[in-house]
Symmetry: C2
Subunit: 277 residues, 2 copies
């Protein structure tokens, strides 16, 4: 039996991701915000955290990149979950009848085209998709709807008034599994995640990527985040294909340390699990 | 007399940026959202748009990167504005007495450490910093505060209850000026902004950056955004130092076109104006 921390209320997409990855026989520990996941895994209250890191329509969850650097946890797994957004309310309204729609800013962004077709409706960002559904169910607010996953409608007894309202039907969120210990797998079907600061010299990002490119190591993701104390300088996050213990990758990381600063290995984990929601 | 579109209410940081850059003798056209800026400059209703693109504490404004690609406007200028956030309310409350704090999610993020010191206060994301101040002033809501710029307090007659509450005292937002025509300056104190898609081959980002690095052209910013129709593939945005008509840069861009797809020049503009707010 595992203790698994995720962000959101019961019925959240992160809850679905936790169940798909670990099975449904565990203790799920919902957290109010993303930092709650990192805190509870750091303290040992949870053995595992499930962290959304990017969505195929809306992009990276920047706060979680910052938290990966700030907490010394290890990425030990990843999965992609197909996301379908549903519009739900206490009654079977037509969408044009609605006065308010509540949801998390990421979900609102993923449904921006549908929302643009309802110019009279007030869009209200809230901290959570399933939390918006819960709130509407609890208050019984009329002419209001939430955007959340199908599970949330079932969980809170709401009516689905429109299905699959996201901008593009192919909508995936990639989640990372974090633990407070390394758990490097055997074999080569892996990703290794790293972060580093560039030295202030011309061509420094090019050289840093060269450590991998010259060894034919594939880069699958790059992200940058501002360094607050260094105005308009950046911390880079990269995912590369391969096992961190593979000789080529060991050499590439040693090379990266020569040409950049504060190199941190965030984890090595099996890649490629995709689940339907 | 210029027509200048910006996002937010009177008293917004973007309004301050417009006044600092263009002077205070113009017609300012506040827009409800960022897309409104791009729409009104495209239609000719505004000659100029002022677009926040990144903050030194919180990072890039991703929506505006997407809009730069979606609309065919040209970046013709940039400025950085020093940002100081103020907590304001209808009365001189102590922060601990507050029940609610309203502001834009970026401003809430920039003040996250201060907000963490007030665990009992409900944090409510709203569409605009100055708009939150306006709303509190209009409703007269008690025990509620807004986070906004000093100008907003003056404009809406609110009391400043705490000054400079952002996480780090050095807090700058960089704004772009957009027009529906090119306006390439003379001289070399310029930046050129581009976006491009990578071909699906190993080392493709490394090669794309090489087009600039091998010619000693400095990269000042890189950002990536998902391509919705191509799950977990990215459109890259780069800023490089130099004039787009300089021979070195002409050659670098021709080289980039050989090794990547859908290369678009977003603009060439003078760099380096920094204003105190």
């Amino acid at each position: 039996l595992k203790n698994i921390a995720y962000q959101g209320e019961a019925g959240a997409y992160s809850e679905a991701a936790a169940i798909k990855y670990f099975g449904d026989d565990n203790t799920l520990l919902p957290q109010f915000n993303f930092e709650g996941i990192f805190e509870s895994v750091s303290s040992g209250a949870a053995g595992y955290g499930v962290v959304p890191i990017e969505n195929s329509l809306f992009g990276s969850v920047m706060e979680n990149y910052d938290l990966l650097n700030r907490y010394s946890l290890h990425i030990t797994g990843e999965l992609s979950l197909e996301i379908n957004h549903f519009l739900m309310a206490v009654r079977q309204y037509r969408p044009e009848e609605l006065k308010k729609i509540y949801s998390h800013p990421q979900a609102l962004g993923q449904c921006s085209e549908f929302l643009k077709s309802l110019p009279g409706v007030k869009i209200i960002p809230s901290y959570d998709t399933a939390g918006s559904a819960k709130m509407i169910a609890e208050t019984g607010e009329e002419y209001a709807a939430a955007i959340a996953g199908k599970n949330a409608a079932g969980h809170y007894g709401l009516k689905i008034i429109k299905s699959r309202i996201q901008n593009d039907l192919k909508n995936y969120t990639r989640f990372l599994i974090v633990e407070n210990r390394e758990n490097t797998p055997q074999g080569e079907n892996c990703k290794t995640s790293l972060c580093f600061e560039l030295k202030s010299v011309p061509g420094s990002l090019f050289k840093a990527l060269g450590a991998f490119a010259f060894r034919d190591i594939n880069l699958t993701k790059i992200e940058s985040r501002p360094i607050p104390a260094k105005t308009f300088q950046y911390l880079f996050y990269i995912d590369v294909a391969g096992n961190v213990n593979n000789e080529k990758l060991v050499n590439a990381i040693a090379n990266l340390r020569e040409i950049s600063e504060n190199v941190k290995i965030l984890g090595c984990y099996e890649s490629g699990k995709v689940f339907k929601s």
